[in-house]
């Protein structure tokens, strides 16, 4: 990487902005503003900085509607909003998906709209940490805020996640490197462990690497639990790990003062899915008989957890909530987005602050190509190619302030640093407009 000169040409610094990238929600960003543009970002990791800096690239600026020739054409806001409202009001199985990269404030009218039309509302948890939520619902949720780890933890285990690539400041800001109140020497006072089939960049930094085999997660955790109960292991190698190593690791985990387990999609999306998390949670619960252990899922988007929290307090269920019968229903596999698309049930799809075009499996995308899609987003992406109505939003945390919840559920008020492009509208405003317009259509048809 070539040396880059620090940015010196700016009008003002907006301090303590919250990063709108991953679930670490670092709230110490200084955004350098020049002529109402972001000239530089201090303290952010490369992922966060590039998202904030390169925001202008591929930016959606004007509402668009797909014409009869299949081309997206620029229209005024009224035309686009009316078109979207008409699609929503006439749908039988609408799904409103996304929400993880927008603010709680935008979710509020979104949920109201969902209730009004009897839609399904869902977020990216449905394709990422959904299994975690299921496991939490089955066996519990022993967690903490990240500062507890920073100040107390002497053992950290990352499994099924590679924060050095996906959550670059997780180790440096929260868990491993910082000097904590009871861990004054930072990294030197902690043991870093990675359980992962891959020798990931995080594994490379670790003191201990446990490369269990792919899909071996459940059997591996089960073996540690059995050892904790005093069992002698029968097999010499379990899930690819020699039994001696399992004994040694178990002993270390028992004898630490404060341990924290962080897990990612490597656990949620292998063979036994939510059961990997299920048993990992129970392992942490067992360890609390001996010493202090906590855990935390490595949430991806900066407000993916926020949506789950918001839905839980508003409607009692965290994601995949179906209002088609007038009351909320939550049934994984039935009221969840991918299943509704794979089964070709959904007839109108609204996506806000997400990119299913880039992330959904082929079967789901094949159906999306056949039904009307409404997109609320700030960037042109694969989903735009499928969209019939495009409503350009604004960038939460840079152009618009709003509330988000960090992966450990700490709420943050994300500031704005610059004004949004004049032709764009805030997500909250857009969703509210849709709500009002659908209400009007419903009223008129009574």
């Amino acid at each position: 990487m070539a040396y880059e000169e620090p940015v010196k040409d700016y009008d003002k610094i907006v301090e303590n902005c919250t990063c709108a990238f991953c679930g670490s929600n670092c709230d110490d960003l200084d955004i350098l503003v020049k002529d109402n543009h972001v000239a530089g970002v201090r303290h952010a990791c490369r992922l966060g900085a590039s998202k904030i800096m390169e925001d202008e690239d591929q930016r959606l600026l004007v509402p668009m509607v797909r014409d009869e020739n299949g081309e997206l054409v620029e229209v005024d806001w009224d035309t686009a909003l009316d078109k979207a409202a008409e699609l929503i009001a006439g749908s039988i199985r609408p799904v409103f998906y996304g929400w993880s990269e927008t603010s709680i404030e935008a979710m509020k009218p979104g949920l109201e709209l969902t209730e009004l039309v009897g839609a399904v509302i869902d977020n990216q948890a449905t394709i990422c940490h959904g299994p975690t939520v299921q496991a939490v619902q089955n066996v519990g949720y022993p967690l903490m805020t990240l500062g507890e780890v920073k100040n107390r933890a002497d053992m950290l285990v990352y499994t099924g996640s590679n924060p050095m690539n996906a959550h670059p400041r997780h180790l440096s800001r929260y868990t491993t490197y910082p000097k904590g109140f009871f861990r004054r020497r930072g990294r030197f006072d902690r043991t870093l462990v990675t359980w992962d089939p891959k020798f990931s960049d995080t594994a490379k930094l670790s003191d201990i690497w446990v490369p269990f085999e792919e899909n071996g997660d459940y059997g591996f955790c089960n073996a540690i639990r059995a050892v904790l109960k005093g069992k002698e292991l029968k097999q010499d190698v379990i899930s690819g790990i020699p039994k001696e190593d399992i004994y040694e690791l178990t002993e270390k985990m028992k004898n630490t003062k404060f341990g924290a387990l962080f897990f990612g999609l490597g656990l949620t999306h292998t063979l036994s899915k939510q059961r990997n998390i299920d048993i990992a949670i129970q392992l942490v619960q067992d360890l609390n008989k001996y010493t202090k252990w906590v855990l935390l899922p490595m949430r991806g988007h900066f407000n993916v957890n926020g949506f789950n929290i918001f839905m839980s307090y508003e409607m009692g269920f965290p994601y995949g909530v179906d209002f088609s019968r007038g009351y909320p229903r939550y049934m994984i596999g039935e009221t969840t987005t991918i299943d509704l698309l794979n089964r070709r049930e959904c007839d109108v799809f609204m996506v806000i602050a997400a990119d299913p075009g880039a992330h959904f499996p082929g079967g789901a995308l094949a159906h999306l190509a056949n039904i009307p899609v409404i997109q609320i987003d700030i960037h042109w992406g694969p989903s735009t190619e499928m969209a019939d109505v495009v409503l350009p939003g604004t960038f939460i945390g840079v152009e618009t302030a709003g509330t988000s919840y960090r992966m450990d559920s700490v709420p943050l008020y994300m500031k704005k640093a610059i004004d949004p492009p004049e032709t764009c509208r805030e997500d909250e405003w857009i969703v509210n407009e849709l709500l009002q317009r659908v209400k009007n259509i419903k009223e008129a048809s009574k």
Binding site: Q137, G140, Y141, E148, R152, I309, S312, Y313, G316, P328
Partner: protein
């Protein structure tokens, strides 16, 4: 808009009105003593009229609740109701969704409900939920008992700095008062431990619960806050814990009160969980008598019941170690949530059953306390919702307190286990609450305990927060009609909040935003500024958020009711 609530039978203990037939008039949200001829008449002839209910201690908004909702879909699906033209869909039994929480309190005739535990770091979350809960005013209590700065000041005996810290943190969190939960014990839980009794120091900090409670009480009185310290003592739910409870309130005896309206310097919360005698769950008996005796002899303490309602519920408390004990006991799914530098917390679902001896004894102890403490002004009705039972069961607790016949019936019919009669004195207590007493423990005393002069009463100038129930006190015997009492208190004929009719015939007819109720100390600004400067290096080093992003911004607490307090030494 003007109204006359006509010919009701009014119970208003603050004004010593005990079942008088009279009109209640209100205009523009306030009680008045006369209205014009154009006032709208609400005919409630012979019906039971009280100020709207005031709940001193409930867990209804905030991070713990949300963990509960998120991880108990099996509870959420129990209370599912479709939306109506006025109300949104409802979910949940022990941990209802926010809209359901507001509707259900409103249907019971409540107007103000205190959220009992707010961790400062996540206070924004609590306020976000208050925004989502309609129809009731909500004062949140801020957690201080295991805060690192508090422990440090308490250790140093530095009361003035502590008072400045409390004053600043109430502003930062938009909190109403000072909550203390298992002081030093929740910090010990940071290492998987606990403390026992009030003289067992927290690891590292080397400060005891006694020191923390006394220091916070002195700071509370130095600021002259409207509410006293609100204490969940150590050893909750442990057999043999009643001496800890008495020691906790007794250590406050010499602390001088600095507030005109309230009488107490300490509020003991969910007392039921703190009144056990014995050494284990095998030989446990009721410890209600010695605690009640103490309270009867001392007026510096008030308490709320934490009455067990014998339901499947969700326990949740900032007492982290207690929840892990409960998990080990029941094996049911355990959630935990420790908050950096501030507190711990935990949750476990719990099934109270009348067939279980211990649960039956707990049921008896909750009622014993209400019947043994002589002065109802020292008692508030709670279930520590949802810990000892969901708040929708308050009317059932009322029906038990009003009917000795019903209590005896439950013990005779084996609706509760024999331990209720055998290991407590409940079967020997024939005292029965009348409507005046009920109005005292659900309205008058709670508002006095909190220093609310403007609610919990029907005085001229007070908020027009009024409940009317479909019972005719002059033609009705609550001692033999427990089911009818429960039904009437569950479904208010009218609930009026700030002069607006929100409930009619048990149904929500109007939805309004709830007020965030908090205090603001005035005259302590310099001390606050100095203390903030002093602690900021430690804050910046050990918290994981920036101070600027830590505070609860004004827009999270709107609309609000702010009680301004003049700090006086």
């Amino acid at each position: 808009m003007e109204y006359i609530l006509k010919n009701g039978i009014v119970y208003d203990p603050v004004n010593e009105i005990n079942g008088e037939k009279k009109d209640v008039m209100f205009r523009d949200g306030k009680i008045v003593n006369s209205v014009s001829d154009s006032a709208k008449i609400l005919d409630v002839t012979d019906k039971l009229v009280m100020p709207a209910g005031v709940d001193v201690h409930c867990h209804l908004a905030g991070p713990k609740l949300c963990v509960g909702r998120l991880y108990r879909p099996e509870d959420e699906r129990k209370g599912v109701k479709p939306k109506t033209d006025i109300t949104r869909a409802e979910t949940g039994f022990s941990i209802p969704s926010c809209p359901a929480t507001g509707y259900r309190f409103s249907r019971m005739g409540y107007g103000t409900v205190v959220e009992a535990a707010v961790p400062p770091l996540e206070a924004k979350h609590t306020h976000e939920e208050i925004i989502a809960i309609p129809n009731i005013d909500i004062p949140p209590l801020t957690l201080f008992g295991n805060n690192w700065f508090v422990m440090q000041f308490a250790k140093e005996g530095n009361i003035e700095d502590l008072a400045a810290f409390v004053s600043a943190w109430l502003k930062i969190t938009k909190g109403y008062g000072v909550k203390i939960v298992n002081p030093c014990g929740s910090e010990a839980w940071g290492w998987g431990g606990n403390v026992h009794g009030i003289d067992d120091p927290a690891p590292y900090w080397d400060v005891t619960a006694r020191e923390v409670i006394r220091a916070l009480a002195q700071a509370n009185e130095m600021l002259g806050l409207p509410h006293s310290i609100h204490v969940h003592p150590n050893d909750l739910g442990h057999p043999g814990n009643f001496p800890t409870t008495i020691n906790t309130i007794d250590c406050m005896k010499d602390i001088k009160k600095n507030s005109e309206y309230r009488n107490q310097t300490i509020h003991l919360t969910h007392a039921q969980f703190h009144c056990y005698e014995g050494t284990s769950w095998r030989d446990v008996t009721s410890g209600a008598q010695p605690v009640a005796d103490y309270i009867n002899k001392n007026d510096h303490v008030t308490m709320d019941l934490g009455a067990v309602t014998l339901d499947e519920t969700t326990t949740m408390t900032a007492d982290g170690p207690m929840e892990y004990d409960l998990y080990e006991l029941t094996g049911l799914k355990w959630a935990n949530k420790d908050i950096e530098l501030e507190t711990a917390s935990g949750l476990v679902p719990f099934i109270y059953s009348g067939r279980n001896p211990v649960h039956s004894l707990q049921w008896a102890i909750g009622l014993e306390l209400a019947l043994m403490v002589e002065n109802p002004w020292q008692v508030a009705l709670t279930t520590d919702s949802p810990n000892a039972g969901p708040f929708i069961r308050y009317p059932r607790v009322i029906s038990w307190l009003m009917s000795n016949k019903r209590r005896m019936e439950m013990m005779d019919n084996k609706e509760v286990h024999g331990w209720a009669a055998k290991k407590s004195a409940l079967a020997t207590l024939d005292r029965e609450y009348d409507f005046y007493d009920i109005a005292t423990i659900t309205r008058a005393a709670p508002s006095k305990i909190y220093g609310f002069e403007d609610r919990g009463n029907l005085s001229v100038g007070s908020l027009a927060d009024i409940a009317v129930y479909d019972l005719e006190p002059n033609n009705f015997d609550p001692t033999v009609n427990a089911a009818a009492v429960e039904n009437a208190f569950s479904n208010a004929l009218y609930t009026i909040k700030d002069g607006e009719i929100l409930v009619k015939d048990g149904e929500v007819v109007k939805v309004v935003s709830s007020n965030h109720v908090h205090t603001e100390v005035q005259g302590f600004e310099d001390q606050e500024k100095r203390i903030l400067e002093q602690i900021m290096p430690m804050f910046n080093k050990y918290y994981t958020v920036k101070f600027e992003n830590y505070i609860v911004h004004d827009h999270y607490a709107e609309p609000s009711t702010v009680y301004k307090v003049n700090a006086s030494k």
